[in-house]
């Protein structure tokens, strides 16, 4: 993580990548979605710990489960679950976009933007649908 800043020409102080963001580097939909694919992926990997804990608590019996479910139903648990559900559905939708690219489809710039907007909208719609079901049930 903490690699020393590369100095191609000592003495020449150019701004480096992280400090460029926002100031000199203009974000595009494509790069933000790509970045988010990785960020949601890492977040979901962390979330697998919770997923495993949930099943282990369930196997542990009613008291173990109750002490675990208490956190899931609390406001912070619901916020985390909401975040994870969106992250999962976003990563899934954008993953399908990546699979299409791997098969050689959708490489033109307009197509990349179109699929980007579709992925962003679809992930929000699917998340809303899942939580709609959860709360209306």
């Amino acid at each position: 993580m903490s690699s020393p800043a590369p100095q191609a020409r000592p003495g020449v102080n150019r701004p480096l990548s992280p400090f460029m963001l926002g100031q000199y580097y203009r974000f595009q939909l494509t790069s933000v979605l790509s970045l988010m694919h990785r960020v949601t992926g890492v977040g979901l990997s962390v979330g697998t710990v919770l997923f495993a804990c949930w099943l282990v608590a369930l196997a542990g019996g009613p008291w173990t489960y109750a002490s675990f479910a208490k956190h899931l139903t609390a406001w912070y648990g619901q916020v985390l679950l909401f975040g994870w559900s969106w992250a999962l559905l976003y990563h899934l939708c954008n993953g399908v976009r990546h699979l299409a690219w791997d098969l050689g489809y959708g490489y033109s710039i307009p197509a990349v933007y179109r699929s980007g907007y579709v992925v962003a909208a679809l992930s929000v719609l699917l998340t809303a649908a899942a939580w709609g079901i959860a709360y209306v049930r």
Binding site: A69, H98, L99, D102
Partner: protein, 124 residues
């Protein structure tokens, strides 16, 4: 005579990239239906109710689907985190330790989750 080195030079290390690339995609394809099934099934569950959730997991079709989901999920997750570590962790020693840790943690969590489902489904 040209040695094959001139063809290979400049193309980076030839390790096990293709296999990992394919494994990541194949597990991704499997995870599309499995994840959608999981999210929308759990959304319909009263999460706070021990008996309802346990009853759901114990159903044979759900237990089998959960075991498949767990195996694919933890496999795909470990492949993904592996790539991130390879990209950002500098130094072969640190990288190796991080890669091993991530593999072991994924294996342990996957085994625990699978065992939990089996314990519930097979009853005890």
């Amino acid at each position: 005579m040209r040695s094959p080195l001139s063809r290979a030079r400049g193309y980076g290390p030839a390790k096990d990239g293709v296999q990992t690339f394919l494994a990541e995609r194949i597990s991704a394809v499997a995870l599309v239906p499995l994840s959608l099934w999981f999210v929308f099934s759990v959304a319909q569950l009263p999460a706070a109710s021990y008996t309802a959730v346990r009853h759901w997991v114990a159903a044979p079709s759900v237990a089998v689907a959960l075991v498949l989901f767990i195996a694919t999920l933890f496999y795909h997750s470990s492949l993904g985190v592996k790539v991130v570590i390879e990209d950002y962790v500098a130094g072969e020693g640190k990288k190796l330790v991080a890669l091993l840790l991530v593999k072991f943690i994924h294996a342990a969590l996957g085994a625990a989750a699978t065992f939990a489902v089996l314990k519930i489904a097979l009853g005890s």
